[in-house]
Symmetry: D2
Subunit: 261 residues, 4 copies
């Protein structure tokens, strides 16, 4: 289980959310040190939008807790839209190319979860990546392949539709290969303007997701952080959440064709 | 153009060939410092056979000239069969997964050259990798894909036939995609007993290859090193060279079907 | 708290002890994943003696659990004397130069513990390093400084005496600077023939140390590993343990001058 | 010989100077690939001033030419004051702690040159670092030690005086140790407002330095880059150059006490 955080709102220094708070994302990378549950020490990454149309991207293979460049960058950079991720590897070894977020043009994408039985279906999932994006495939994780496949399904003009179509195809591939392990997908997509968060799983047990209204904007995260009194809203399974213009909107996110009544 | 070296013979410390000689492989990684032609600073690797059936493998993303682990390993390890490589990236970024040698079971493989226009045919070349080996695909270089494809063509029981079949298929893919850039392939394969060296190119200009009889065994390398008086034999284009049991044998290596007279 | 292991006996593949057993050292690097107590993800290292008078040394900044080179090396290398360490940084950031073991000539050294208040006394501790060894100082950890200082106190001919003299001097430096935090020192030294293990602390609470008689030799480790039925002997605080020729001997290790009655 | 660049002026994207131009700093890291003189592949770094009082800092051990994070950062970050460096190691191995620029509070510092015979005088040079800054000493290069020593000589309120005093002391240490190799020092210091460039050597042969008036500000660099028609001013040996408020001013920089006539 990875951990991630996204923010949309007034420009703030990245460390305001990523480092300063109690149980911040960077501290979650080594939270197990303090005898909590998990370590997310298999690399880290942060992507942010500035004056360019394309986002900035920093990814590293060290655990976030010991990455001096990450700390300096988060202290220095201000942004009104950013994503950050600390990884606990499921598929794909620890290498920069497997670190989140992934980027393509103005898009950033990060994911928590996995395609069950991925090794058996990797080739079929990669076949979903359209030819003109295939050169972007650098690592061997399921997450990067899902992102590129979703781009091929029209991610830039219909994010929810493209993600749903991609997941539907992955499910079919799993089924065709006799895989019964679930497909779990909690993910965040950004295009420079809007954050799209998805929480869905084929077994209705997607990785956790929360959001919170801050003074300066809206944060979405794998788990609450900050002061104990802060109010975090859990995001229900089967949700597509959109954050733009200071407002968050949740709607149902269905992947499988609804059955006739 | 990468640089590489392979050795077969009595066990010797790896640094005897890789570090100690004048113009050794490690010094070739930064030879340009001394105002020669090229830098091979995009990672390095060494593979050797010991008491296990599988070879040992060390690969790193630092230039060989500054890799302290490589230096210590070469000073400490003795082997009668080993391969070493310093990389100058053509396709695929600088990451461990793109460093040579590549390994699978008892095989080691390293390559100098490239598939011209690789980005356009990468997907088709990767399609040559058989399903049961697809999980070994970790990077995005043409070299790794060619190795895995050759394994699928029967590399373990007919090395020259499998390499030729793989190259033939790659040529067809290039032609089908209208690529006129050459396919160049100077490579070394080891299986724990025998070294196979190949020097071939579709335009008859494969990267250079030399071999030399040492007191303790036989060395094959991209370029001569050691004392100026040392006698190195150039390996002709279109050659498959086999080194085993202290003897080197060269035979013609034809990739394209010979034409009837 | 770091974790380490040393072995002396018949040559064995390193992974026999470092990777294969239940709760092996490499798994201890991420044991917190399984909800135990600590993570030791701040780099790793292994040193071993082969045919050279100097040991081989591999150190890396990735957590041991994701270090593919470490895994391959431990699978391939056989040795009758080796040390391995997974780090949880106390003083000194995560960099190769701060990874254990440290080496000098035929010696290897690794340490678990710390000089309390080290930042305030670092300069004085480094002043203990003799001029001819000062060039070996590469990192900024207390452990490396203690090793180099002990070398200056005659580590090569009187290991216990040199370690005691070094610790005594460090204690004086702490006292002279008004530091009341303890000096804790559980460490292993090897010279190619003999293992010396020390467990001592100024507050009588040194990091844990255990040893065990295996079929092939003797293992010393920060904590027991392997089968639950395996019998590990705790090493008492204030002990200098010597392992050579298949035998382990424990004697009292006193740092402070005993007071007259 | 390292290569570096500094800029002061209107805010620009860093890649405008560091990557886009012909013979840019990043291309200088591997210029030898194109058969020029040198490789500067021993790590790289960039420091810039933004909205914080302290600068942002990114340093990496890969050659600049293959560092994807550096490229993204330079594409994304805009600054009116920044420094960048590509290293060719003289003293100190390739590690982040030895990469330039070095930082302390609001200061950034980078250096090209060396203290001749440094290994013999390292301890004495490090002794110049004041106690309260000693904890900042992370690597083992002469450059970092000179920066920290200059801070102790009052770098923040009298840059030229502090640098001269530091160099004078280093010269005395060299002489006291019988070292006849020169002390060469071409360096740039920034405090968030002003750039100070120094070009000096005990043998009057300091590494090269040039500056140029751009449309947006002033660039100082180890060697000219950009269009052949661009006019670069060489900076004479024995110069202290100050850049602030859009103006460059050069004055004599004397290290040794002038002799009475």
């Amino acid at each position: 289980m990875c951990r991630f955080l996204a923010y949309s709102g007034d420009p703030i220094f990245l460390d305001t959310l990523l480092i300063a708070p109690e149980a911040s994302l960077v501290s979650q990378s080594h939270s197990a040190r303090e005898a909590k549950t998990v370590v997310n020490g298999d690399g880290c990454g942060v992507g942010w939008y500035g004056a360019r149309s394309e986002p900035g991207l920093y990814r590293g293979i060290l655990p976030a807790w010991s990455d001096a460049n990450l700390a300096s960058l988060c202290h220095q950079v201000e942004a009104g839209l950013f994503l950050a991720h600390v990884r606990s590897a499921t598929s794909g070894e620890v290498t920069m190319a497997n670190c989140h977020p992934f980027s393509s043009g103005r898009h950033l994408f990060m994911h928590n979860g996995q395609i069950g039985g991925y090794e058996a279906v990797r080739r079929s999932v990669e076949a979903l990546v359209p030819d003109d994006l295939y050169g972007l495939r650098r690592g061997n994780s399921d997450s990067e392949a899902m992102f590129l496949a979703a781009l091929g399904h029209g991610l830039s003009h219909d994010p929810a539709g493209a993600i749903a179509a991609m997941l539907r195809t992955c499910l079919r591939i799993q089924h065709a290969n006799g895989i019964t392990q679930p497909l779990r997908f909690t993910a965040i997509l950004a295009d420079g303007q809007t954050l799209h968060a998805f929480r869905w799983a084929s077994d209705d047990r997607p990785p956790s997701l929360y959001w919170r209204q801050l003074d300066s904007g809206i944060a979405i995260a794998s788990e609450p952080f900050g002061d104990p009194g802060d109010h975090w809203h859990p995001v229900a399974a089967g949700t597509h959440m959109t954050v733009a213009g200071g407002a968050a909107r949740c709607e149902e996110f269905a992947v499988l064709e609804t059955q006739p009544a």
